[in-house]
Amino acid sequence: MARAAVLGRLTWRVATVIAVVDETPRVRTLELEVPGWPGHLAGQHVDVRLTAEDGYRAERAYSLASAPGEPPVITVERLEDGEVSPYLTQDVRPGDAFEVRGPIGGYFVWRPDEGGPLFLAAGGSGVAPMRAILRHWRNSMSGVRVRLLYSSRTFEDIIYRAELDGEKVVHTLTRAQPPGWTGYARRVDADLLREVAWPADDGPLAFVCGPTSFVESVAASLVGLGYTPGRIKTERFGPTGGR
């Protein structure tokens, strides 16, 4: 099924919103029904296209947050000056439809046979593809060790908070922490990665997704810790969340 997903030309398909989950005050998850959806791999994304009544079109890319075999799901962070995200996070209702193109991407894709251990680092809404990867890791009963380091501004900004509440997830809150917070409370830097990331000697495979500055900093630090550059997969979505 996954193979068919990337063969042939991509076409725009109509996606109907099946369910809506408000993850945080600014972030919403949309479960989609897309007739003819060929299936997707963990880490791929879709392009969403909105067309205004006057014909004006806007497109944005959003990571798929569901595992292979599950219906396509996207998680959208609202950008106040955005053309697409305000609609997707505030106005859209179950039953509404828009166009999607996908699945897209072959580089930022995790397959269970690529070895490990697997180290995931996400900033903000960059956690969306990590949910797909973690679910795929679980569903495939992969034997590799996995750990997600997830940086959020505040506790209220943690996306998928209930799902990402296990021993495999290490949280850091960079702006404010609730009383009694026992996780990290600082930005992700080389020192934090030295504590949390798998040692380079273990031959880890890393996926890093988030704002551009986060990804550049984490990737450079991982290289500094001895990670093989070709085993660090990166995906950037700009100054603030678009994915």
Partner: protein, 86 residues
Amino acid sequence: MEALDGNAIGGMLSHVFGREMTMAQAECGSCGARGPLAECEVYLGGPGVVVRCRACQHIVMVFVEVREMICVDLGGLSDFEVLAWR
């Protein structure tokens, strides 16, 4: 303007080339750096899409859409290798 990366244009690349392209190996015509297109710098804010070498910022690819037609300039590349999709 902050750079994105080649993942962000995966959909457009698939549309233009008819297949998954983020794993294609791009070789910079200026400094010779070589790597997956996904790792190149991508700028979406202008009238077209500008792809730059991450090592030296040389412009390696430009895409401009004009009325449903996409004009492609690959002149900044010295080599472009499309790998078999697994």
